[in-house]
Each structure stands twice: as C-alpha cells, then as structure tokens.
C-alpha cells in the first residue's frame, strides 16, 4: 500500500515536469499550424524578399524584411549601450571594487531588471525622446534610437551580472600569475581575465540579444508602428513584437489572413530566439567542461 502511494506521487510529480515539455510542444504546434495557413496563401519567397509589410492596408504586401530591420536596429542600439557599460561594470566589480561596494551595488543593479517593461516604455517616450530631440533636431516623437537606448539600460544588469559570474569563475592562479609579473589591474583584466572568460561573456551577450529581440512594450510605446525598411536610428520603426501587439489591439477576425500574420511573425521571432538560446546553451556546456 505504502509502495503504491509512493508510486502514485512520483507519477504525479513526473506529470508536472512533463507539462513543461507540453508547453514547448504547444508553442511549436500553435506557431506551425497557424503559419501553415499563412504560407498556403502567401508565397514564402515573397515573405522573405518583399520589402513592404502592409497586411492591414488595402494594398497588401507580406514582406517580413521591414519588421526584421526594425527589430535589428533597435536590438543593435541596445547592445551598443549595454555591452560596453555592462562589461565595464563586470570588470570593475571583479577587479577594482572593494568587496562591500560590490555586495551593495549588485542588488541595486538588479532593481533595473525588476522594473516592468511598460514602465521603461513610459521612460523612453517621456524622458529620453524629448532629451534626444534637443540634441538631434527634427527627431520624431517615435524613433528607434530612444527605444534602443532604454532597452540597453534595461539589459545592462543582465550583461554585467552574467559577465561577472564568468570573470569570477576563472581560476585565481591565472590572475595571480599576471599580477606576479607586475601587470596592472587593467592589463590583468583585459589581457588575462577577459580572454579567459570570453565564452561566458559571449553567452551573456547572446542571452541579452535574445531578450532584446523579444522585448515588446518599450518598442510598442516608443519606437512607433511604421514598418519601413530602414536602418536609420532616427526613423520610426516597427519590430516583430510591436506588430503582434498592434494587430492584437485591433479587431481581427479569427482565421483571417490578418490573424495568421501574427503567427507568421511569431514563428520568425521564435526561430531567432531558439537559435540564440541553443548557441548559448552549447557554449555554456563547452566552457564549463574546460574549467572543471
């Protein structure tokens, strides 16, 4: 009897664990089945080469490129902000800062990661954009630059925290050898520590890129809703995520081609983040083996 109970409990627990697999299967099934409907009506070739995305207009075009360029430019700006700042913070906390300072600053930076993204969107629209408009005359109230910068600020703690872990994990002897040769902290950090922790730092950047690509609210609020094929950061752009939000806010009939476009956009987004996740997972595995 006792044994039976134990069995039942274990099966119940396993079921809960299995539910996570079901979630993944569900996501893939939903994205594929609805996109299937989309691609039976729109040529795949047009989808990846047409330079216009206008499913909601009378003159319909279904080219994903404008959404990709919008996503790309905002992500690029955010990484340009987050990588140098985040990596410098990681090096500073690891090599320079006194221990007490590090213990206080790390949780403070984590607050940045806890703020809801809709709040960052408000920040971009009401603080950063007006500020940028002073510096760059003629800048519109919706632009890729402002959204990208704010997104960069949001992912700083992600880059700094993961990079710091990577720097912390390298063997102490490596750094001691460098100091023993008379190197300064700067030389030790950039010639020894950073190269040794390179894979961990790259993983942090890849995860940050994945986060930036999938971020929705900042771009929906501050970047605009114009799917234009452009790489000019001053333009209003529309990202994949912002498009899904735009359609979701309107009244779109279930089963219509408009409805299916958000799944086609969604599967594109999913594919990118899936690839990035797996690269980082693979790199993490590889670099863990090296030091253990």
């Amino acid at each position: 009897m006792r044994k039976l109970n134990e069995r039942i409990i274990e099966a119940g627990l396993a079921l809960c664990g299995g539910l996570t697999i079901l979630t993944t299967v569900g996501i893939i099934y939903v994205l594929f089945s609805e996109s299937w409907g989309f691609f039976s009506r729109v040529f795949f070739f047009d989808f990846i080469t047409d330079t216009e995305w206008t499913p909601l207009f009378t003159q319909k075009h279904y080219g994903i490129l404008p959404l990709l360029s919008g996503t790309f430019i905002v992500t690029l700006i955010s990484i340009i902000v987050a990588l140098p700042v985040g990596l410098t913070i990681a090096i500073f906390l690891n090599e320079y800062a006194p221990k007490g300072f590090r213990q206080n600053v790390k949780p403070a930076l984590e607050i940045l990661a806890a703020v809801p993204t809709v709040v960052y969107g408000f920040f971009a629209l009401t603080v950063v954009t007006p500020f940028l408009q002073v510096i760059i005359p003629g800048l519109g109230s919706f632009n890729a630059l402002s959204a990208g910068i704010v997104m960069g600020i949001m992912i700083i703690p992600m880059v700094s925290s993961l990079s710091e872990d990577a720097l912390f994990a390298i063997p102490k002897t490596l750094k001691e050898a460098s100091y023993g040769m008379g190197a300064t902290r700067f030389q030790t950090a950039f010639k020894v520590a950073v190269p040794a922790a390179a894979s961990g730092i790259i993983v942090s950047v890849i995860l940050a890129i994945g986060r930036a690509i999938g971020e929705t609210m900042i771009v929906s609020i501050a970047a605009g809703q114009q799917p234009i094929l452009t790489l000019d950061p001053r333009d209003a752009v529309e990202t994949i995520t912002a498009y899904i939000v735009q359609v979701s806010l309107g009244d779109v009939e279930h089963g219509s081609l408009e409805y299916q476009t958000i799944f086609a956009a969604g599967i594109t987004l999913f594919l990118f983040t899936f690839i990035l996740n797996n690269i980082s997972f693979w790199m993490k595995k590889k670099y863990q083996e090296r030091y253990e």
Partner: protein, 285 residues
C-alpha cells in the same frame, strides 16, 4: 619608468570609468523614479484608486486595473505554484539520471528564453480559442502561469539542492519513505528558497503586459471582475493604454499608475530579498 607610469595612468583612468559606468545605471534609475514621482505623485488620491476608467483623464481611476491585477496574481499563483514546485521536486529528487529529466532540463532552459509575447500567442490559441475561455481572467492566469513555471522550477531545484544529504539519510534511517522524507524534511528545510523564487516569479507576472494584450485583455473595462470568467484589465495594460493617448492628462495618470505598479513590484522583490537573506543566515549546514 615612463611605460610604467603610463600603465598606472590607464589603470586609474579605467577605475574612474568603471565607477562612472556603475553609477550610470543607478543614476538612470534615480532620474527615472524621480521623474515619475514628479509627474504622478500629485494625482494619487483615494478617488484615483477607487474610480472606474473614464474618457476624461481627471475622472479616470485604476479600480478595475488593480482589482484585475490582484485577481491575476492570485489565480496565477494557485495554478503555477503547485505545478512548478512539483516539477522541481521531480527533477531534483527523482529524475536524477533518467532520460525524461534530462530532456525536461534542456527544455526548461529553452522555455526561459522564449519571449513572453510568444506565450501570448500560445494562450490565444489554446486557452482563448480551443478551450473557449475568451479574454477572461482564467485565460490570462493560465498563460502567465506557463510563463513563470520555468522560474519556479529552477528556484525549487536550487533550494532543494542546498539541503544536505545527511538530512535525507537520517530520515531514511528512521524508516521513512522517499516521499515522507521529502514532505517532512526536505521541503520544510528548503521552503525559504522556494518561497523566494515563487515571489520573484509573481513579481514578474505582475509586470507582464505583452502576453495579456495578445490574449485579448481589454484596456477599457468599466466593471470590477467578479468571477474568473470575467473580462479584465491589469495595471500594466491600463498604463500602456494611457501612455498611448495624446492628452497630457493621461500621461499624468500613467505616471500615477506606474507609481502604484512599482510599489507592488518593489514590495514583492523586497519580501523576496528579505526572505533570501534570512534563509541564508539561518541555515548553516
């Protein structure tokens, strides 16, 4: 000697650059909270908290938004906590070397990286359309529960991992079964860590907007939700709606609603950090 001085100079310069970068994030956070307080603090009063939404900014309130957020928080917790903790227990205590566990592990790492809006698309098809829940609280709670499951599972595993083997062995030595050991010894010993993870995951759920927009949560709901099947709005939705309007009055409203949302988020995070510190101090295996 000259070279040495140059290197020292670079070293010192980078130290200041490091301080500047560290402060950059914190200063931004300060500017940002200051700006929101400046914009929104004056608007918060009893009427603002207890009023229904309105087309006139000075009459609009957040009653439906915060009651919706409370509903969502409660329902999501009820759904996600048992499943998440159970899955964590399974992976850590039972499935150490089996195939299912290793697949689930890779899978969870992947799920944690899936953008939240994709969960919205999943919820739209499965909960809203297939299970016919519509844009209801329940559909929203199921969607958010799936979103935060990976966080709860990972936190549960970490907490269980910290419990020493000697505790388990002592329990087995007394003749307890595996489940009795987990239920009476391991879970109480790791409850602090699990609770921390749960609260952090709920704080994430409170701030989520994108998946709820996709499943069809409404920006304008003129009544308080009375059952899980009712349509709803939440604070982040209300903020998003107000931010997108041109009138200045709504921007002020948005700032005020953000203050309330941030208070909720920071309280949840504060509790989590407090629990984590207390738990780490108390337990000295």
């Amino acid at each position: 000697m000259n070279n040495l001085r140059k290197n020292r100079l670079i070293d010192e310069t980078f130290r200041y650059f490091g301080i500047a970068c560290t402060l950059f994030g914190l200063v931004m956070l300060a500017i940002f909270i200051g700006k929101i307080l400046l914009d929104g603090a004056g608007r918060i009063d009893w009427d603002f908290i207890m009023s229904l939404p309105s087309r006139k900014p000075e009459k609009a309130g957040i009653l439906t938004a915060w009651t919706g957020t409370t509903w969502i928080l409660g329902l999501t917790a009820i759904i996600a906590i048992p499943i998440g903790v159970a899955a964590g227990i399974y992976l850590e205590e039972y499935g150490n070397k089996n195939r299912l566990a290793s697949i689930v592990e890779i899978n969870i790492a992947n799920l944690a990286g899936v953008p939240s809006i994709i969960y919205g698309l999943l919820g739209l098809e499965i909960f809203v359309r297939t299970l016919k829940l519509g844009g209801s609280l329940l559909a929203g709670a199921f969607t958010l529960a799936l979103l935060i499951l990976p966080i709860i599972i990972v936190a549960t595993r970490e907490a269980l991992k910290a419990v020493p083997g000697s505790l388990r062995e002592a329990s087995y030595g007394m003749g307890a079964t595996k489940w009795q050991t987990i239920w009476y010894q391991v879970l109480p010993a790791s409850s602090g860590g699990i609770l921390t993870g749960i609260i952090l995951s709920l704080s994430r759920a409170v701030g989520e907007t994108a998946p709820l927009i996709v499943i069809g949560a409404l920006a304008y709901v003129p009544f308080i939700a009375k059952s899980p099947m009712d349509e709803f709005t939440v604070l982040p939705m209300q903020i998003f709606n107000w931010v997108s309007r041109p009138q200045h009055g709504f921007i002020v409203n948005a700032a005020s609603a953000i203050i309330i949302l941030l208070i909720i988020t920071f309280i949840l995070n504060g509790i989590a950090i407090y629990l984590r510190n207390k738990w780490q101090k108390k337990i000295n295996w």
